[in-house]
């Protein structure tokens, strides 16, 4: 077991139960959800309104189980959904995407991901970067104001 730091959107999370194996970063299912918001469900790997089916041919590369529970290879999943990432093997650091960009922006819904019916009142999952670009005042509101 090792500790790993995952930088995902604006989130910086630490997983104490990670396994680092060469290019792969395995997380427990609870750490996967805590660090990225993705959850393993019967319909696939899901986040908000999006579910990505787990291809049978890649299931063993993504999910494994042992006596201590299930583990998920988050870097293999990033490859599956063609999500760019940066890894630091020495310190177990992982950046799944740069801050300011939504995973929705790079998730190609034509490649098998499914958009679950959006809950009433919630924006479409693929609003992503386009909507953030239009809402600069909201983004600026999150930045620290420096004393003049």
């Amino acid at each position: 077991m090792a500790s790993a730091t995952v930088l995902y959107q604006d989130r910086e999370s630490r997983s104490e139960g990670a396994r680092v194996e060469a290019d792969e970063l395995w997380l427990t299912l609870s750490d996967l959800a805590a660090t990225t918001g993705w959850e393993l469900k019967p319909e696939g790997v899901c986040k908000d309104e999006i579910c990505v089916p787990v291809p049978a041919a890649r299931r063993s590369a993504l999910i494994r189980e042992d006596a201590s529970g299930s583990e998920f290879d988050v870097t293999e999943f990033a490859r599956l959904i063609e999500q760019p990432f940066a890894r630091d093997e020495k310190h177990g650091g992982l950046v799944l995407r740069p801050a300011g960009l939504g995973v929705e922006d790079s998730l190609d819904l034509s490649r098998g991901a499914r958009l679950r019916a959006a809950r009433p009142g919630r924006p479409g999952a693929h609003s992503g970067r386009a909507s953030r670009k239009q809402d600069l005042p909201a983004l600026l509101g999150h930045l620290v104001k420096l004393p003049v």
């Binding site: 910086e12 940066a86 790079s106 983004l139 104001k145 420096l146 004393p147």
Partner: protein, 194 residues
């Protein structure tokens, strides 16, 4: 008017410049380069005009309102740009210096895979550098400009978090002149007409 300091080193790095400028307008800190990445800021300064309706009408101008000659100390105003700003203030939607959608799109291109990969490496390098691992940050700080050689914000931040000569085997002047990186600043285009 709002200025945004894109600097991962935080307020302590940006504050001296704000104090030296004696500015009257707000300044914000963009430590995570959120605004810079969203609006494809590949070098600073970069100026954007946003009208009272919240619409961006001019984007990514590489300007200084004034520049000081380091050798002579003489301060020169960027008069053409200041005149353009005054034209906009006076004429608002009829200003000759507003950009149409096509020009705005060219100034705000969609990010490609290399942009996103470069941003991921830059973010990881910054994290490592700020958490006491500057040597391990280097591979990421070198990978980012390899993917996006025209992104000077990444390079300049990386240099500030290390030593440009020791870590990158170059100087600022040599790096700016390297043709493989493209221009340090694109030309300021103040042509009239949309």
């Amino acid at each position: 008017m709002v200025t945004i300091a894109a600097d991962a080193r935080g307020a302590s790095a940006a504050q001296p410049f704000i104090e030296a400028a004696h500015q009257q307008h707000p300044s914000l800190l963009d430590e995570k380069f959120q605004v810079a990445e969203l609006y494809v800021v590949r070098n600073v300064p970069a100026a954007f005009w946003i009208d009272e309706e919240g619409r961006m009408v001019r984007a990514n101008d590489p300007i200084y309102a004034q520049r000081r000659n380091r050798e002579t100390g003489e301060v020169a105003l960027n008069q053409p740009y200041l005149d353009a700003v005054r034209d906009w203030v006076a004429k608002v939607p009829e200003s000759d210096f507003l950009m149409d959608q096509q020009r705005l799109a060219a100034r705000l291109p969609e990010l490609d895979v290399d942009d996103v990969k470069a941003a991921a490496d830059f973010q990881l390098g910054t994290y490592l550098a700020l958490h006491g691992q500057p040597a391990d940050a280097l591979v990421h700080f070198k990978r980012a400009p390899a993917l996006r050689p025209d992104n000077w914000t990444y390079k300049r931040q990386a240099w500030s978090l290390g030593d440009i000569e020791r870590d990158y085997g170059t100087t600022f002047q040599e790096a700016v002149k390297n043709p493989a990186s493209g221009p340090f600043y694109p030309p300021l285009e103040l042509s009239k007409g949309k």
